[in-house]
């Protein structure tokens, strides 16, 4: 899992339960910890889906504003990590769908060169991962989402279950189908394995 390290280190990150305890006496301090703890993972998750810095920043900001408006956010039973990822995914995929519709409408209009100044710059360990990312773009939204949650954001099966609101067994079968579909696309593209 790559670290962005956008936030200066030097402090111990409290776990979610500790943050909830802090919220009982100081909601502002708890909100501050949530942002410090989750800003990089949420920004990265948004950037991986959207591949656009500016949109990823806007989504990250929107997610944390919604979190602070959510009255149950610091409740004992509330799964804040799953909630943050769910809202991020929903906002990002809504943007992707809007973008797709907009592009379909503007398809005939020629786009000037360099018209997308905010495109993300991904750095890969090797060419094969670049091919895997290209293949992931051809998967269905559900499959792409679950692969990103598992392999990019490193969520456990239980966390994916909470994030997507599906049973653990469904996480396993959907993940298997997604990986199987990925292999099929890579085969179609003629990508050799290492």
């Amino acid at each position: 899992m790559p670290k962005l390290s956008l936030v200066p280190g030097g402090w111990d990150v409290p776990d979610d339960e500790r943050i909830k305890q802090i919220a009982r006496s100081d909601r502002r301090a708890a909100a501050d910890w949530v942002v410090r703890k989750y800003r990089d993972p949420i920004f990265q998750h948004a950037a991986w889906i959207l591949k656009d810095w500016e949109e990823a920043i806007d989504v990250a900001q929107d997610v944390f504003i919604r979190a602070m408006r959510e009255p149950r956010f610091f409740d004992e039973e509330f799964k804040m990590k799953a909630w943050l990822y769910r809202v991020t995914s929903n906002l990002c995929f809504n943007l992707v769908r809007d973008r797709r519709r907009r592009n379909a409408i503007l398809e005939s209009v020629p786009r000037p060169l360099g018209d997308e100044p905010h495109q993300t710059d991904f750095v890969f360990a090797g060419q094969q991962q670049q091919q895997i990312l290209a293949a992931m773009d051809r998967l269905t939204e559900d499959h792409r989402e679950i692969l990103m949650l598992r392999y990019y954001s490193d969520l456990s099966y239980a966390e994916i279950s909470d994030t997507l609101g599906i049973k653990l067994g469904t996480v396993m079968s959907r993940l298997s189908r997604a990986r199987g579909q990925l292999v099929e696309v890579l085969d179609e593209l003629g990508v050799e394995t290492s």
Binding site: L6, R28, V35, W48, R97, I132, M172, S176, L182, L186
Partner: protein, 152 residues
């Protein structure tokens, strides 16, 4: 365990998410199934790894400004925008995984319903027990009726 069951469990098996009994069944199956063994190897070779992000300094600065806690709390204290209306939610749901133009499907469904409703209303309009007559023979008494072919 049959191939389809093993294939559904290979990824959770790699991730250590299956129990000991299932682990044994999968291992046993792979020993005697070259096809599943090939898929197993292919899956191991194509595990997605997260691409590293390298946002330029101005993006990092903008992110830091956008996620300033005071700014976020100030924004959060403003009244939330009204929730999405039901028809918008329905539209999003309809268009979520649409592979065909939704508008065309809806127009087709509307026409289908209209033609069905028109047919139904015509059937209901008939008086009970009356059989629709042919328009050409409706006003001719039965004893005077002669088919055209009888004329010399």
């Amino acid at each position: 365990m049959v191939c389809s069951e093993v294939r559904e469990r290979l990824v959770p098996w790699h991730d250590g998410e299956v129990g000991p009994s299932e682990d044994e069944l999968i291992r046993g199956h792979l020993v005697g199934c070259p096809s599943c063994t090939r898929l197993d190897q292919r899956l191991r070779d194509t595990v997605p790894a997260p691409p590293q992000l390298s946002p330029p300094p101005e993006v990092q600065q903008r992110l830091a400004r956008a996620l300033d806690i005071d700014l976020l709390l100030q924004e959060a204290s403003r009244p939330a925008p009204p929730p999405e209306r039901l028809w918008m939610q329905t539209w999003r749901l309809l268009t979520r995984r649409a592979e065909v133009p939704v508008g065309a499907v809806m127009v087709y469904a509307l026409l289908l319903f209209a033609s069905f409703a028109w047919g139904l209303s015509s059937w209901w309009a008939l008086p009970t027990g009356q059989v629709p007559l042919d328009a050409a023979s409706a006003d001719i008494p039965a004893d005077q009726f002669r088919p055209a072919a009888f004329e010399p």
